[in-house]
Symmetry: C2
Subunit: 351 residues, 2 copies
C-alpha cells in the first residue's frame, strides 16, 4: 500500500505531513492526491476524491509551497517595492490603498504579496542581491527622475516582469506602467479654480519628489496657460507645522495668491491652516485644493476640494496585469492609465 512506509511513517512526529503521507494513508499514489488538490476533477473518481479529502483533513495536510515552486519554477509571490527615504515607508494613504488592492487581487489568484521598503537605490541593490523570491515586482519610487530611472533599470535587468506604478517610462524590457490621469485631474480642478476667478495660483509641492506630483504640476500649468499665473514652492509634507510655515513665508514674500493648489490633501490642509492663522477667509479670499481624496481629508474645515485617485483599483489592476503576464505571454500594452474624478469640497468658490 505505501511506497516507502517504514522510514517515512516513523518520522511522522515533528515534521508537517506531506503529499506522500496523505497518499500512503489514503492508499493511493501521490499523483492522485496532487490531482485532487489541484482540482483536476476529470482524473479522479468521486469516491477516491472524497476519501482523499477526508485524509487531508484528518492529517491537517497543507501543500508546501517550496516543492511546488521548485517544480513549477514559480514563486507564487509578487513583490511590492517602495523606494522612499522614510523608513516608515507605508505611512501614506495612497500606498496603503495600492498595497491593499494588490494584496487582495493577488490572493484571489493564489499569489502572495511581499512588501519591501528601501530608502534609495543602494538599499534596493542590497535587497535584490539577496535572493530571488518573487515572480515579478511592482515598484513605486520617489526621487528625481534619474534616480527613479536607475531604480527601474535595476529592476528591469532582473529578467522578471516589472510594473512601474505612478510613473511613465519607456524602453524597459518586460515592463508595464500603471498610472492615473494626474494631469487631467490637476487640469480639472485648476479649471474650476480659474472659473471661480482664480488668477494667481500657488502650486505647493512636497519636498520628496514623486512622479505623480510632476504630472500634476504639468496639468496645473497647462490649464492655467494664458488664464492664470502659476508660482511654485516646496514644503515638508510630513510635518504640518513646517508646511504651514513654508506657505506663510510665501504669503509674506509674494502676497496671498487667489488660490493654493496643493499637490496632495495634506498640503492643501496645511494651506487652510495657514490662511486661518493669517485671518484670510477660505474660500472667499483664498481658494484651496488638494489631491487624492484621502479619508482624513474630512478633518479639514472647510472640507477641502480634491481629486479622487483610484489607488485601490490601481493595485488590483497591477495584480491582474502581473499575473496575466506571468501565466500568459507578455504585456500587451506598455502603459495603463486609470481615470480620476473631482471630489467636490467647500474650498473653491462657486463660479
Amino acid at each position: 500500500m505505501a511506497r516507502k512506509p517504514a522510514m517515512k511513517a516513523a518520522a511522522g512526529g515533528g515534521r508537517p505531513p506531506t503529499l506522500r503521507d496523505v497518499a500512503d494513508k489514503a492508499g493511493v499514489s501521490m499523483m492522485t492526491v496532487s490531482n485532487v488538490i489541484n482540482d483536476r476533477t476529470a482524473r479522479v473518481s468521486t469516491t477516491t476524491r472524497t476519501r482523499i479529502l477526508a485524509t487531508i483533513e484528518a492529517l491537517g495536510y497543507r501543500p508546501q509551497r517550496a516543492g511546488r515552486s521548485l517544480r513549477m519554477q514559480r514563486e507564487y509571490a509578487i513583490g511590492l517595492t517602495i523606494v522612499r527615504p522614510d523608513r516608515r515607508f507605508l505611512n501614506d494613504p495612497y500606498l496603503t490603498e495600492v498595497a491593499a488592492g494588490m494584496s487582495n487581487g493577488l490572493a484571489d489568484r493564489g499569489y502572495g504579496l511581499m512588501i519591501n521598503g528601501v530608502p534609495d537605490i543602494e538599499g534596493l541593490r542590497r535587497l535584490v542581491a539577496r535572493t530571488s523570491s518573487v515572480d515579478a515586482v511592482a515598484v513605486v519610487a520617489s526621487g528625481p527622475r534619474p534616480h527613479r530611472e536607475a531604480v527601474y533599470d535595476l529592476l528591469a535587468r532582473l529578467h522578471q516582469p516589472l510594473a512601474v506604478i505612478q510613473d511613465d517610462v519607456a524602453g524597459l524590457a518586460d515592463t508595464c506602467c500603471y498610472l492615473q490621469d494626474d494631469e487631467a485631474g490637476a487640469g480639472m480642478i485648476t479649471e474650476a479654480v480659474i472659473a471661480a476667478g482664480g488668477r494667481s495660483l500657488l502650486f505647493v509641492a512636497p519636498d520628496t519628489i514623486w512622479p505623480a506630483i510632476e504630472r500634476r504640476e504639468r496639468g496645473v500649468r497647462a490649464a492655467a496657460r494664458r488664464k492664470a499665473k502659476v508660482a511654485r514652492i516646496h514644503c515638508d509634507e510630513a510635518d504640518l507645522e513646517s508646511a504651514i510655515a513654508s506657505i506663510l513665508l510665501a504669503f509674506d514674500r509674494h502676497g496671498v495668491p487667489d488660490a493654493v493648489i496643493g499637490a496632495n490633501d495634506q498640503i492643501g490642509i496645511a494651506a487652510i491652516h495657514a490662511a486661518t492663522r493669517r485671518g484670510v477667509p477660505v474660500p472667499d479670499r483664498l481658494m484651496v485644493t488638494g489631491f487624492n481624496d484621502f479619508a482624513f481629508r474630512q478633518f479639514s474645515a472647510p472640507l477641502i476640494s480634491s481629486v479622487a485617485s483610484p489607488a485601490y483599483a490601481i493595485g488590483e489592476t497591477v495584480a491582474r496585469g502581473l499575473i496575466d503576464r506571468i501565466e500568459g505571454e507578455r504585456f500587451n500594452v506598455p502603459r495603463q492609465t486609470l481615470p480620476v474624478s473631482l471630489a467636490p469640497g467647500a474650498t473653491i468658490r462657486s463660479p
Copy 2:
C-alpha cells in the same frame, strides 16, 4: 570541468542561471559556490572566492529561494494577517507602522513579509487552506473576543509560531502576544483630564471592535473610579461626518460632558468638530483626548492631546521575536508589553 555540461549549457538561453551554471563556468563544484554565497569564508580560498564572485556578477546569478526553501524546510518569509471587515485593510496608520516595522526588521535578517487581509474567520480559513508559504504568522484581529479567539485558535493549530499583536490571549500553543500598555496610557491621559477638573467623561469607541480599545476603556474606568463618571458611546470612525453626528446626539441626549475621551485620534478630532459646531469651546468648556499620536493629528485645531503608541517598534519586536523563535528554540515569554507615553496637545486644560 563541468558535470553535465552538454544539456545544461545548451538550455542557457531562457531560464535564469543556477548554482550549477556558476559552478561550471567558474570550474568549481556547486558546494564551493554555495559556500561563497553563504559567507562560509573559512571554507573557500580568497582567490577562488573572488573568481566565483566575478562569475556570479557576470552571469547575473541570484540564488533561487525555492531550492533553498525545499532543502532547508524554511520559507524565509513571515506572514502578517490582518482580520478586519474593511477590504482596504491597511487604511489605518497604526497598522502601517506595524507593517513597516516588521518589514524592515525581517529584511535585516533575510526574511520577507507577506501581507494579507481577510474580512473574517471564513476568509482566514480560505486563505490558510491554500498553501503553507510562511514560517510563522503575525496576526492582528478585530471583532468580538470569541471571534478573535477563533482566529487565533485557527492560526495556532497550523503548527507554526504565532505572534498575536495587540491582544492578550493565553493557552495557545507556540504563541506570543505583543502589546502596548494601553491601560496605562488611557489611565495617564484620563488622570490629566481629571486633574484639570473633568468629572463627567464620555468615552467614544469605534464600531469595529479592537482589543486595544477594550483595554483603553478599562484604563479610563480604572483612573476615573470614584473621581469621575464615565459614559460610553460608539461611532463609525471611518466616516467623520457620521462620527460627529453620533457625538452630537450624545451631547443632545445627556448634555455636554466635561471631556470626550476618544478611543483614537480620529474620534477625538471628530469630537473637536462636534464641539465647534455647537459653539462649545475646547478645552475651556470641553476637553478632548485622542490616542495613538498619528501624523494627521496635527490637522486638528487645537492640537489634540493624545498618547503616543510604539507601533513601529512593535513591528520590529515581532519580527525579531518570530525569527528568533524560528531559528532558535521557543518563545521564552508568553507576552511582551511596550510602554506608551503622553503626546501633549492643547485640548486638556492646565490643572
